[in-house]
């Protein structure tokens, strides 16, 4: 879900940018105190929900104290240089209730999520480390199922799991299990992901229908009297991105997998990072009827709902057809399409337009999406 370099301070930062010893061996220069500006008195669920509060925590506390700001702006993975060669690196923790849900489970999610973070950074995941935090009393059969699921997902994704760590915590402390995966990958040729390179006129491509994962999980918790024939979209999107890159690599400017916080949050981050406006066409956003129905009923905006097997790409207009064609001819990419474009306005915001001429701004998610009542 969210990982390393998304955690950086904004590129358009002011003079107090700082750097300290990084893996690239530059000397440590620490002048950070000034940019620590996280003032929230306590951690709440919203700080982990991938929306505004998460961003505030990361930019206000983690980034100034922990991250090396000299790295190129990537998004979902860090670019690390070791002796002149660059690799992509990312990490992600998975906490999901229930552990198993229609279409997938936590183990599969943990492998795919990290592979996807690398893939949307233009990198092919090569190796992965896995950390398990297990709750005392967890049935071995449950764990074993997840390990099998991870092995199968890793094989499908073409990544090797090279090691890991295990901790056990007291009963009642970890919802069964938490899994953290850390991946390292090799950059694809000619793919450069940089929000600063995004230009007005670029097109926004979406790989497929949105909201499947988030709504599936919401329904799988069994707290709502709702049923729908839906399953999570968890999958590794690397094959899709590789075919797209073969046909359109020079035109790809930015990619992101819209996990927590959904498409709206990812695109708002982009809008903020590039200072431009993202204009979407509501009717063009692919969505299953079940997802639409559930969102209508619960008062959720599908654009805020999490996905685990989709990605967004900003592609230069002259490469758009090639990119969409490549995707739609690849298994699992049949529904890929252009959902909007980059404009000068509204700057730093996302606007959704409808065919009848209405429009609305869609902001980042604030906290968790909460169903409304009336």
């Amino acid at each position: 879900m969210r990982s390393v370099l998304q955690l950086r301070t904004p590129q358009s930062g002011n003079g107090d940018q700082h750097q300290f010893g990084g893996l690239n061996g530059k000397p440590a220069v620490k002048t950070v105190a000034a940019s620590v500006r996280f003032r929230d008195p306590q951690i709440e669920m919203a700080h982990g929900a991938g929306g505004k509060a998460s961003r505030r925590l990361i930019e206000g506390l983690f980034a100034p104290l922990l991250f090396n700001n000299t790295a190129a702006p990537l998004g979902d993975a860090a670019r690390v240089e070791i002796d002149g060669s660059a690799v992509a690196m990312t990490t992600d923790s998975f906490v999901v209730k229930p552990l198993k849900f229609p279409g997938g489970s936590i183990g599969e999610l943990a492998v795919n999520g990290t592979m996807n973070d690398l893939a949307v950074s233009g990198a092919r995941g090569q190796a992965m480390l896995v950390t398990f935090v297990l709750e005392e009393g967890l049935p071995t059969s449950v764990l074993s199922d997840e390990v099998h699921a991870m092995a199968a997902a890793a094989e499908r994704a073409g990544v090797t799991i090279v090691g890991g760590d295990t901790k056990v915590v007291e009963r009642g402390k970890a919802d069964g299990m938490y899994i953290t995966t850390t991946g390292i990958g090799k950059f694809m040729a000619h793919v450069v992901i940089d929000p600063q390179s995004v230009r007005p006129g670029d097109k926004i491509i979406l790989s497929g229908p949105i909201g499947d994962h988030g709504i599936t999980i919401l329904l799988a918790r069994g707290e709502l009297d709702l049923e729908a024939d839906l399953s999570s979209d968890t999958r590794c999107v690397l094959p899709l991105i590789e075919t797209m890159a073969e046909e359109a690599a020079p035109g790809i400017r930015w990619m992101r997998d819209p996990t927590r916080g959904g498409v709206a949050t990812s695109l708002n981050e982009l809008a903020r990072d590039c200072g431009l406006g993202i204009v979407l066409s509501e009717e063009d956003i692919p969505m299953r009827n079940e997802v639409r129905g559930a969102c209508e009923l619960l008062g959720l905006d599908a654009l805020h709902v999490a996905n685990e097997g989709q990605f967004l790409a900003v592609v230069a207009p002259e490469y758009t057809d090639a990119a969409v064609n490549a995707l739609s001819q690849t298994a699992g990419g049949e529904d890929a399409c252009v959902i909007g474009e980059v404009r000068n306005e509204p700057s730093c915001a996302v606007l959704v337009t409808t065919r009848y001429g209405g429009s609305r701004i869609v902001d980042m998610l604030v906290g968790d999406p909460l169903p409304r009542i009336c």
């Binding site: 306590q42 951690i43 709440e44 669920m45 919203a46 505004k52 509060a53 707290e223 709502l224 009297d225 204009v279 979407l280 066409s281 009717e283 063009d284 009827n289 639409r292 129905g293 209508e296 008062g299 909007g340 474009e341 404009r343 000068n344 306005e345 509204p346 915001a349 606007l351 337009t353 409808t354 065919r355 009848y356 001429g357 209405g358 429009s359 609305r360 701004i361 869609v362 902001d363 604030v366 906290g367 909460l370 169903p371 409304r372 009542i373 009336c374």
Partner: protein, 376 residues
């Protein structure tokens, strides 16, 4: 999707919009109040202002149940939950609403057992599962949600579940409309009648608005086409100099309301002599309390309620916005101290609150120079 697609059909919507342009007298300014917060949300969510003539001003009414709740009630509920180690169960809308000591979510982070439920029946289920704990359902809402609270209380009584109570904040819509009409600074031409509330109370309770106040009312659904059709119906009446109650939302709203729901409400609730509304002050006979026969399940009778009264922060103009006297962006705190992230008033929290709807969907559009055209 049935019942959704046909009410979002671009062609029909454009036709309705053209009809509105035809009906609206360009020399006249129309002030039409949508009472219900769900309508406010839909108007912004679907960007309807973009396709309406500028002389039709939609005024947001008081029909957002979270917004009209005075802060003191939230404080009272959370104080009981914290002091008596009670599970505080409420709808998701409530969770970020600020009390003086923080919102339910902030209390949760500090250790109070706060649960989101989707219906009062879910709260009762928590009580069944946790017999050693007391579960208090913090009930809010108009006649839309009151019947399900009533049915849940009947259930609790018949099953003999005693570790469950309701902190009742249910209010009724008609006295609020009356208070708005009585307010001297409010000149309105017509009302878009609430959709969900009317499924329970029907359309009859609005007849006095047409008869004695001379203002047309059209009960409306929540899709773009519903709202536009309702405006067409209102404009037709205004043009003809008529004032009637009409029902645009016939597919859901029966003219006489829902008898079973009304009966359940009557059995459980009685009117309070008066109740404080945020922004509107005390309104007589505008809220429901639980009847004494159900005292055992009434949190206000089971627990000592501090009865906190809190005045809203001085600069906050929630009351004026709630009454429709000010537009959200005219509040001094709007978008500065008060944002959905750091809400000062409930109108900035609930999806039905006009400040949140305006902030989320509209206000940054205002800054755009170029005209908006569809991408596709």
């Amino acid at each position: 999707m049935r019942y959704v697609d046909e009410f979002r059909d671009p062609e029909l919507i454009i036709k309705a919009s053209e009809e509105i342009y035809r009906l609206a007298d360009p020399d006249r300014h129309y002030r039409i109040m949508e009472v219900c917060g769900g309508h406010t949300h839909a108007i912004y969510r679907f960007g309807l202002k973009d396709i309406l003539p500028s002389n039709i001003e939609l005024i947001h009414g008081p029909g957002c149940p979270v917004c009209v709740l005075p802060m003191g009630r939230i404080d009272d509920g959370l104080t009981v939950a914290t002091n008596f180690d009670v599970i505080f169960a409420a709808f998701g809308d409530m969770m970020r609403v600020p009390g003086t000591q923080g919102s339910p979510f902030e209390h949760k982070a500090r250790g109070t057992d706060v649960r989101i439920v989707y219906s009062p029946a879910d709260a009762l289920q928590i009580a069944r599962k946790n017999p050693e704990k007391h579960v208090m359902f913090f009930a809010i809402g108009f006649e839309t949600t009151a019947p399900s609270t009533a049915l849940t209380l009947m259930r609790a009584k018949s099953e003999g579940i005693t570790n469950f109570s309701v902190f009742c904040n249910h209010v009724t819509i008609v006295p609020a409309i009356r208070a708005i009409l009585d307010s001297p600074d409010m000149r309105l031409d017509a009302f878009i009648g609430p959709g969900h509330v009317s499924t329970v109370i029907g359309c009859r309770p609005y007849e006095w608005i047409a008869r004695s106040e001379g203002k047309p009312v059209v009960t409306s659904g929540f899709e773009p086409l519903d709202l536009l059709q309702s405006l067409v119906m209102l404009l037709r009446q205004l043009r003809a100099g008529e004032a009637r109650v009409e029902n645009q939302y016939k597919r859901v709203v029966p003219w006489e309301g829902n008898r079973a729901a009304l009966k359940a409400m009557a059995e459980i609730f009685q009117l309070r002599p008066y109740f404080e509304w945020r922004g509107l002050g005390f309104i007589s006979q505008s809220a429901l309390r639980i009847r004494d026969e159900y005292a055992e399940w009434d949190a206000e009778q089971r627990f000592p309620i501090p009865g906190t009264r809190v005045t809203d922060p001085k600069a906050a103009q929630c009351g004026e916005v709630l009454k429709g006297v000010l537009k959200p962006a005219q509040c001094k705190l709007f978008g500065k101290e008060c944002t959905p992230e750091h809400p000062i008033g409930a109108l900035m929290v609930s999806t039905e609150g006009s400040c949140a709807a305006y902030y989320n969907y509209e206000h940054r559009k205002a800054a755009m120079v170029t005209s908006i055209s569809s991408v596709a």
